[in-house]
Symmetry: C2
Subunit: 215 residues, 2 copies
DNA sequence: ACCTGAACACCGTTCAAGT
DNA sequence: ACCTGAACACCGTTCAAGT
């Protein structure tokens, strides 16, 4: 696992192949199959090991549940983005590893402490997770498959600038709103954008407290 | 493009390789490079062609902007999930194709008509897109890489049931909330779950109308 | 129980050569 | 401008054989 995460951090998830990890360990690819069933299992084990770095609040404070939930989300994002595109493994996965389970448990605890209806809390864990994963993936998308000799950030900026120019040059009669909002639309991957979406989600979740139901 | 989408629909995005598409066309893989720069460009062209199936409201009705925005989101999800895991291509991509641009334009128009502040609308398009993509990907995640001889739905159900049993057997003292909310947590991929998250997002977006600002 | 070499059936992309 | 064959440098997984 350490070797696999080393390759992940250095070159991204795509570089973590069975053959590459085996090579790094000085052996052949077939040897790994004595320890994991397949590549998917290796990836899930990597994810849960990375998730161990995520720090959770010691105990829920009912008065601050929203702030605490927001902090947890930002902490998950911080850890995920510090390990390249590991969030891709999380996307669509029902958590089973001990560390991922502890995170879900903490999120549920915070929402229940805040008075969010249990059913809403259950669904919201999933929605929140999807949002965090999606944002973490976006954040590292264009830098993930690059080789070490190009500065990833520079490459990413160049890509976004190109798109920005392209969108600005669009016919304003056909895409008036896009043209006038180009800068907001291409403000990808920033922490500000993540916080905005998080606030939207938390406002939405909180709105279920008063009326307590679905509609 | 037709051939590529044919392979996508039949066997999922992973099966859409340069070699496979070329083979389907009765030629060699190198021939494709006369028409697309690389595999990523092929994927983006596939996505925009699929996006042409998405039907948008004829014109925004300011009184019904939330319902209309919700309808658009559900329509995108419907079309994406009808083409296997094509949503994976959309994830993290800034739209540039004409059809994807038309969708973003329509979404912006609806929110602006509803009185959502422009900056919020700009960021919300991105947040909404991430949510739709993430849900569509979840919906097809475990069925995507299966070969034709196994019923994908049956396989998916078996997988979810296994996880459900595993979660139910967890120590209740360590994961009390997870154990008691197993059914809500494992209600993956349904249209109900999607609608819930969508409502959360729309409630959150609407909450910016009154106070008009960020905080 | 763990490891290995060799093989099978694949990949994306390049490039010189053709029409 | 478009297409091709052949090659390069890779993949995940299996399997018989070893320790």
């Amino acid at each position: 696992m350490e070797t696999a995460i080393g390759v992940l951090d250095a070159e991204g998830l795509e570089a973590v192949t069975m053959r590459r990890v085996a090579q790094e360990l000085g052996t052949g690819p077939a040897s790994l199959y004595a320890h994991v069933a397949d590549k998917q299992e290796l990836r899930e084990l990597m994810l849960d090991r990375v998730a161990a770095e995520i720090r959770l609040p010691a105990k829920p404070d009912p008065a601050r549940w929203r702030e605490q939930l927001k902090e947890v989300a930002m902490e998950i994002r911080r850890v995920y983005t510090s390990h390249r595109d590991i969030a891709k493994v999380s996307m669509g996965l029902i958590p089973t590893g001990p560390n991922l389970l502890a995170i879900a448990e903490a999120q549920l605890g915070l929402m229940l402490a805040g008075g969010v209806p249990p059913k809403v809390a259950g669904l919201a864990v999933d929605t929140l997770g999807m949002y965090i994963d999606a944002d973490a993936i976006e954040d590292t998308f264009y830098t993930a498959t690059l080789t070490g000799d190009v500065d990833p950030w520079e490459h990413f900026q160049k890509y976004v600038d190109e798109i920005r120019e392209y969108l600005k040059a669009l016919p304003a009669d056909r895409y008036p709103h896009i043209v006038s909002l180009v800068d907001d639309l291409t403000d990808q991957g920033g922490a500000e954008r993540f916080e905005f979406g998080l606030d939207v989600l938390l406002r939405g979740i909180a709105s279920y407290i008063e009326d307590g139901g679905r509609k």
